[in-house]
C-alpha cells in the first residue's frame, strides 16, 4: 500500500525562473528520506512537486518525470485532487483553519470532503491523531476552541495531526519540527518511526542530527550560485552521506563549514 516514487530529470519552474534543475532520485516505499541543504536551494519546491502542490502557484510548472508506483504523476489523466488525497503534506509554516475548532481541524480532511463520520468515530480519529502528534494532553480539555488559539509549535503539531488523520500513503513533511521543543521533536520522530512501517515519508530538515536519526536515505541539495537553480548534489544511505560523502560540498555542509 505504501508507494515508491521515482523522479527523473525533473526541472521545476516559477514562471521563467528555474528553481530546481535536473533532479533524479528514487524514493523507496516504507522508508524515510531526508532532504537537507542550505536555505533557498529548492527543497520545499521539490517536495511540493511530489504531490502536485507546486502547480497551485500561478505560473509554476514542472518538466520531467515523476513515477508513483510506476504511474506518471504528471499524466494529463491524473487528477491532482486524487493525488493529494494519497500524498499528504505538512507545510513549513503551520496553517490551521482559523474558522475551525481544534477537533474540527484534525478531521478537516474528512469534513471538507463531506465524508460522513459517526460521532464516536470522529472522536476516535481526533484523539488518536492528536496523541500521535503529541498534542493530546495539551488540548484535550479545549478541543472546541479555535485552532488558531494555539501556540506556534502546537499549531505545527495540529497540522501534523490533520495530515495523518486522513492516512495518506505518502507523507511529505517540510521542516515539521522547526518550531518544536526537544520533547515534541522526539515525539514527532517517534511518530515518523512508527509511520514508516506502513507509509513512505519524505522529510525536509535543517537539523543534521534529525536527518541522521530518522532517515534511511539522505539527499543533499545545493545552489550552483546566486540566482542559479538548486540541484540535487548527491543522495544515498544516510550513514554513508554522513560519514563518507562523495561530494566535497556535501562534506562541507554536513560538517558545518558552510551553509
Amino acid at each position: 500500500m505504501a508507494k515508491s516514487i521515482d523522479v527523473s530529470d525533473l526541472n521545476i519552474f516559477y514562471g521563467d525562473f528555474c528553481a530546481v534543475e535536473d533532479v533524479t532520485i528514487p524514493i523507496a516505499a516504507r522508508s524515510v528520506t531526508a532532504f537537507i541543504g542550505p536555505s533557498g536551494c529548492g527543497k520545499s519546491t521539490f517536495l511540493r512537486s511530489l504531490n502536485r502542490m507546486h502547480e497551485v502557484i500561478p505560473g509554476a510548472r514542472v518538466e520531467g518525470k515523476i513515477l508513483i508506483d510506476g504511474a506518471d504523476l504528471y499524466d494529463p489523466e491524473v487528477d491532482p485532487v486524487e493525488v493529494r488525497r494519497q500524498i499528504g503534506m505538512v507545510f513549513q509554516r503551520p496553517n490551521p483553519f482559523p474558522t475551525m475548532s481544534i477537533a474540527e481541524n484534525v478531521i478537516a480532511g474528512m469534513r471538507l470532503n463531506s465524508r460522513k463520520l459517526k460521532k464516536a468515530e470522529a472522536a476516535e480519529i481526533v484523539e488518536g491523531s492528536l496523541r500521535r502528534a503529541n498534542l493530546w494532553t495539551e488540548v484535550k480539555d479545549r478541543l472546541d476552541k479555535p485552532g488558531s488559539s494555539l501556540s506556534g509549535g502546537q499549531q505545527q503539531r495540529l497540522c501534523i495531526a490533520r495530515a495523518i488523520a486522513v492516512q495518506p500513503q505518502v507523507l511529505l513533511m517540510d521542516e515539521p519540527c522547526s518550531a518544536l521543543d526537544p520533547i515534541s521533536t522526539t515525539a514527532i520522530e517517534d511518530l515518523i518511526h512508527e509511520l514508516k512501517e506502513d507509509y513512505t515519508i519524505v522529510i525536509v530538515t535543517h537539523n543534521m542530527q534529525q536527518a541522521a536519526r530518522v532517515s534511511a536515505t539522505t539527499a543533499f541539495f545545493n545552489l550552483a550560485g546566486v540566482g542559479r537553480p538548486g540541484q540535487l548534489i548527491e543522495y544515498g544511505p544516510t550513514t554513508k552521506i554522513f560519514t563518507t560523502p562523495e561530494n566535497e560540498s556535501t562534506e562541507a555542509y554536513i560538517s558545518g563549514r558552510f551553509g
Binding site: 497551485v56 500561478p58 485532487v81 493529494r84 488525497r85 503534506m89 482559523p98 478537516a108 480532511g109 486522513v166
Partner: protein, 362 residues
C-alpha cells in the same frame, strides 16, 4: 553592549544610576494637560461673556491657546520629542472633532426636527386623501423595504459570484475586462442607473412604465459593483496558505472555496453587503424616475407606482400642501426613519463582523 559589560566590569553602583537616568525622563503629571484645558476653557468663556467676542472666535482662540500652552509647558519639562508628540495628538484630536462636527449636527437636526412627527399614526397610515395634517409613511416605508430587498436579492448572488470568480478563478483578459466594467459601474451616476432601468422596462411595457421592480433593477446596477468590490477585497485577505492546506488534504477547489475561503471571509463580506444596502437605500433620483410617486399603499412591485422613503421626503418637501408646516414635518419624520434604518444596518454590519469573524481567543 554585552561584550563591554563583560570585559570591563564596572562597579555596580556606578553603572546603575547612569542607566536609570537614561530610562527615566521627566514627565508631566497626568492632571496638567487637563488643568491647562480647563484654564483655556475659562479664558474662552471670559472672552465670550465678558469681552463680548463671538462664540466661534472664543472657541477657536481657547483651543489654539490650549495647544500653545501645552506644547510650551511640555517642551520645557519633558523635552522636544514629547512636546512634538503632544502637538501631534492635539492635531489629530482637532481633525477628529472637525470630522465629527457635521455628522453630529446632521443627527441633531434630523432628530430634533423629525421626532415630533413620529407617532403610531405616522408609521401606520399612507398619504391617501391627506392634504393638511395627518398622513404618514406607511406606503413609503413598505415601498423602500420591498424595493431594497428585491435589489439586494438580485445584487448579492451576482456580486458574490463575480467577486469569487475574480479572486479564485479569474486571470487573464476576461478578469481584467470584468474588473474594468465593475470600475465603470461604480462610477455610474445614480440618475443614469434610473434612466437605464426606465429605458429597459419601456422595451417590455411601453412608455410611461412605473413599477417597484424597475427601481430594484436600478438600485442593483448601483449595488452590484459595491458587492463585487467588497467581496473581492475580503477574499484577497484570505491567506493562500489556507487554500493550500485544504488542497493538500485532497479537497477540490470548489469545496475549498465554499468550506474554507468563504467561511474565513464571511464576516467581511456580509459587512460589505450590509453597507452596500445602506448605501442604496437612500437613493432618490432613480426611484423617482422608475418607481414614481404615489400617495397609496402598493405591495406589488410588478404593478404600478410605488412610493419609497427618499421620494416621499422629496415630494413632501417640494409639495408640502396647505398649510405647508405639516408636509415639512412629515419630510423630517421620514428622514429620521430613513436615518434610523441606515444606522441600524450599519450597527447590524458591526455585530455581524464581530460574531462571524474567526476567533483567535477562547
Amino acid at each position: 553592549m554585552s561584550s563591554t559589560l563583560a570585559t570591563q566590569p564596572p562597579p555596580g553602583e556606578q553603572a546603575t544610576p547612569k542607566f536609570t537616568a537614561r530610562l527615566h525622563s521627566p514627565q508631566l503629571p497626568r492632571w496638567v494637560p487637563w488643568a491647562l484645558l480647563a484654564g483655556s476653557v475659562a479664558v474662552g468663556l471670559a472672552l465670550h461673556f465678558m469681552v463680548g467676542w463671538g462664540r466661534a472666535l472664543a472657541i477657536v482662540v481657547a483651543w489654539l491657546g490650549y495647544m500653545g500652552l501645552l506644547v510650551t509647558v511640555s517642551g520645557r519639562v519633558e523635552g522636544r520629542r514629547k512636546a512634538k508628540d503632544r502637538l501631534a495628538t492635539w492635531l489629530v484630536t482637532t481633525a477628529f472633532v472637525l470630522a465629527l462636527l457635521p455628522l453630529g449636527s446632521l443627527l441633531w437636526q434630523v432628530v430634533s426636527n423629525g421626532l415630533p412627527a413620529i407617532n403610531a399614526g405616522f408609521l401606520n397610515s399612507s398619504m391617501r386623501n391627506v392634504v393638511g395634517e395627518g398622513g404618514g409613511i406607511f406606503h413609503a416605508l413598505w415601498g423602500t423595504l420591498i424595493v431594497t430587498a428585491l435589489a439586494a436579492l438580485m445584487s448579492i448572488p451576482i456580486g458574490l459570484a463575480t467577486g469569487i470568480y475574480l479572486v479564485e478563478y479569474g486571470n487573464g483578459r476576461m478578469a481584467r475586462w470584468i474588473t474594468f466594467l465593475v470600475d465603470v459601474m461604480t462610477g455610474i451616476p445614480s440618475i443614469v442607473a434610473g434612466l437605464f432601468a426606465y429605458a429597459l422596462f419601456v422595451i417590455f411595457f411601453g412608455e410611461g412604465v412605473r413599477m417597484g421592480f424597475g427601481g430594484a433593477v436600478a438600485l442593483s446596477v448601483l449595488m452590484i459593483p459595491l458587492v463585487v468590490r467588497s467581496t473581492e477585497e475580503m477574499l484577497k485577505l484570505v491567506p493562500n496558505e489556507l487554500r493550500e492546506a485544504s488542497y493538500a488534504l485532497g479537497v477540490p477547489k470548489w469545496r475549498t472555496i465554499i468550506k474554507v475561503v468563504l467561511p474565513t471571509a464571511i464576516a467581511g463580506i456580509i459587512t460589505g453587503i450590509t453597507i452596500a444596502i445602506a448605501r442604496v437605500i437612500g437613493e432618490t433620483a432613480p426611484l423617482l424616475i422608475i418607481c414614481g410617486s404615489t400617495d397609496s399603499v402598493n405591495f406589488n412591485p410588478f404593478d404600478g407606482r410605488m412610493m419609497t422613503l427618499p421620494v416621499f421626503i422629496y415630494s413632501q418637501y417640494k409639495n408640502p400642501g396647505v398649510p405647508p408646516e405639516f408636509g415639512i414635518e412629515r419630510a423630517w419624520g421620514a428622514a429620521l426613519v430613513l436615518t434610523v434604518i441606515v444606522m441600524t444596518l450599519n450597527l447590524v454590519a458591526r455585530l455581524i463582523s464581530y460574531y462571524f469573524s474567526p476567533k483567535t481567543k477562547a
